[in-house]
């Protein structure tokens, strides 16, 4: 059994109340940080921990914090990204609804480290019920003196608010999120300037994922070096994996970094294997935006090494034979899954969610969806596969924000690893579009 740093007490009765949460050691990091550490010392511990952003990009959190501009007399902000909209990812919702005080504790300790006196949790609008859980917990934290003026007699003040979104995947992108928090459309901003210099209300701002912030209390309590002992190499600590798709036991698992993918899928401690006794066909390991891998490549790297649940191992081989850990949204597909249909579904998602600011993304995602739709429905032509690949290529690197790449990568990867299945749809449309049709394998194309 791996250590559970975040979710150890998640099923304790009443853990969403401050009394029970404190009985289990809650808010110790606030006391420790505020009473015995300078803000810079907290930042230093987070650096030592090797914690990498859990929102998808995996950028070192301590380093990000050290970039925050600190001009005299100008307020700065910490904004928690609780937009959680990446398909396949559902960990933050569970964490916040069951352990609201963990996020709040993390927000207080982190805000202290950054010198923020006002912080926001931006939560996706669909989770209004979680917003209310958080607001109730925040009220308890104020009453206990962990929020508000002169926290624990230290002279440090902090106000914490929760802000709902309105249903838009793009608001997970940090600058779109800030626009949205300012009451506008969620159009990502051109960078630079980065939020660390000019973020919310044009003031220095750090944006961090829920899970990143939730890891801060344990780092402060146990020390960054202790935290860094868990995991492998530059993948330290634990990670919440949202497991879904064709698994026997979908759900949220807190794993120590480094668990082999094969163990994660098949062992009873985790997902318990593929449902209905079927074979695994493919996995999207880090949320819908990362490249899909066929069974052979998700279980083992191209060099034949066991693939591990770490940033490095999952990306081994680059995009030719690897993928990314991303947000930890682990989507498993069984042998009956139609890859074309799945790819079309994801393209529809990105087309729907494109904010429309840049033409390569706005038009390109539209073309991806259209072409995939026609292949899936039996009207594809031989040229379509190359056109798809070229549209994907033209989006990459030509947009304001990474949603463009997020839309292009899954398509390129599906073609890379499952080209024969696309060809089957095009050459044998009647068979391929029969309800319940399953790609019978390369042989039919010979």
């Amino acid at each position: 059994m791996g250590r559970k740093l975040l979710t150890e007490h998640i099923n304790v009765e009443g853990i969403d109340t401050i009394e029970v949460y404190r009985k289990h050691g809650g808010y110790r990091s606030v006391e420790k940080a505020i009473k015995t550490m300078t803000p810079d010392e907290v930042v230093e511990e987070v650096k030592k921990s090797g914690l990498r952003g859990r929102g998808g990009a995996g950028f070192p959190t301590g380093l990000k914090w050290s970039f925050l501009a600190k001009p005299e007399g100008v307020p700065r902000y910490l904004v928690c990204n609780a937009d959680e909209s990446e398909p396949g990812t559902f960990k933050d919702r569970q964490l916040m609804s069951k352990l609201p005080h963990l996020l709040i504790e993390g927000m207080i300790t982190s805000s202290y480290a950054l010198g923020a006196n006002t912080s926001y949790i931006y939560i996706r609008g669909e989770l209004l019920y979680v917003l209310r859980i958080l607001e109730k917990a925040i009220a308890e934290a104020y009453a206990a003196g962990f929020l508000g003026k002169n926290i624990l007699g230290s002279g440090y003040d902090l106000d914490l608010y929760v802000h709902p979104g309105g249903g838009a995947y793009i608001c997970g992108e940090e600058t779109a999120l800030l626009e949205s928090l300012e009451g506008k459309r969620g159009n990502p901003r051109n960078k630079p300037p980065f939020p660390a210099v000019s973020g919310l209300y044009a003031r220095p701002t750090v944006v961090n994922n829920v899970e990143s912030i939730a890891a801060v209390p344990v780092i402060v309590n146990e020390g960054g070096d202790e935290y860094a002992k868990i995991g492998i190499g530059r993948s330290t600590g634990t990670k919440l994996i949202s497991a879904c798709g064709h698994l026997n036991k979908p759900g949220i698992y807190e794993i120590e970094m480094g668990v082999p993918v094969e163990e994660f899928i098949y062992s009873d401690e985790y997902c318990g294997g593929i449902w209905k006794g079927r074979e695994l066909k493919a996995v999207v390991a880090g949320g819908s935006s990362v490249p899909i891998l066929p069974k052979e490549l998700i279980l083992k790297t191209a060099a034949g090494e066991p693939r591990l649940m770490t940033y490095e191992s999952l990306s081994d081989g680059g995009f030719v034979t690897g993928t990314m850990l991303g947000s930890g949204g682990f989507i498993a597909m069984d042998e009956t899954t139609c890859i074309v249909r799945n790819t079309w579904n994801f393209s529809r998602f990105y087309h729907h969610e494109s904010c429309g600011q840049c033409s390569p993304c706005r038009e390109g995602t539209g073309w991806l969806e259209k072409i995939l739709h026609r292949i899936e429905h039996g009207h594809g032509t031989e040229r379509d596969i190359d056109v798809l690949a070229s549209v994907a290529k033209q989006i990459e690197g030509n947009t304001i924000c990474p949603l463009g790449e997020a839309a292009a990568w899954p398509v390129s990867a599906a073609i890379r690893h499952f080209r024969d299945e696309f060809e089957w749809h095009i050459r044998h449309p009647q068979e391929a579009t029969r309800p319940g049709a399953v790609f019978p394998g390369k042989a039919v194309l010979a």
Binding site: S97, L128, G183, G186, R341, F349
Partner: protein
């Protein structure tokens, strides 16, 4: 207070809603009242029958001290705001990959068959249900998923679970408590 599906010509927020709006506006710097746009639009949508008519959006503009166009451009960008009248219950069916893998397409067809409403069209003939397809609701491990107001209905992969959801909605005599009312948390919380 009765739920209305037609916004009154000159809408006004109830005292309770107005108090909630005042509380929310204090969360942002005084010169950044516009930041309250999304929370206030949510309140407006709950208060006026589940959608935001142009008059309601004008009211939001007035309350926030911004131009109406600033509200329109936001309300049309975010998918949670309904711009046309809806049935008593809006069923938001997740259609994204992980839910599709676990049968959301079949669920949508089934819900269309049972309710008689069609996705993307008006409410069912009895005015009870509007069907809306949405993207990933962050519940992919419990697919397929439908959200109705604040409540998540999960693992709707059996006839019984679908029936249970629909009969619960059918027998809801009173509209669900508005979030800021003193009636406590909506029952969604207990189930999530």
């Amino acid at each position: 207070m009765e739920s209305t599906t037609n916004a009154p010509v000159k809408p006004r927020f109830s005292a309770a809603a107005q108090a909630e709006i005042d509380r929310i506006c204090k969360q942002y710097p005084a010169d950044r009242r516009k930041s309250a746009m999304l929370p206030v639009l949510h309140i407006a949508q709950s208060e006026f029958g589940g959608w935001v008519a142009p008059e309601v959006q004008d009211l939001v503009a007035e309350v926030l001290g911004v131009k109406p166009i600033e509200v329109y451009e936001v309300s049309t960008f975010y998918t949670m705001f309904n711009l046309k009248p809806v049935g008593k219950h809006v069923l938001e069916i997740c259609r994204t990959g992980p839910c599709q893998l676990r049968g959301s397409d079949e669920l949508t067809l089934e819900l269309e068959r049972i309710t008689g409403a069609k996705v993307g069209e008006g409410p069912s003939a009895d005015g009870l249900f509007t069907l809306k397809e949405v993207e990933c609701l962050a519940a992919c491990g419990f697919a397929p998923v439908v959200q109705v107001r604040e409540k998540y209905y999960e693992q709707l992969d059996t006839e019984e679970s679908v029936d249970a959801m629909l009969s619960e909605l059918r027998t809801m005599v009173h509209r669900p408590a508005l979030p800021w009312e003193e009636t406590g948390l909506p029952n969604a919380v207990a189930n999530n």
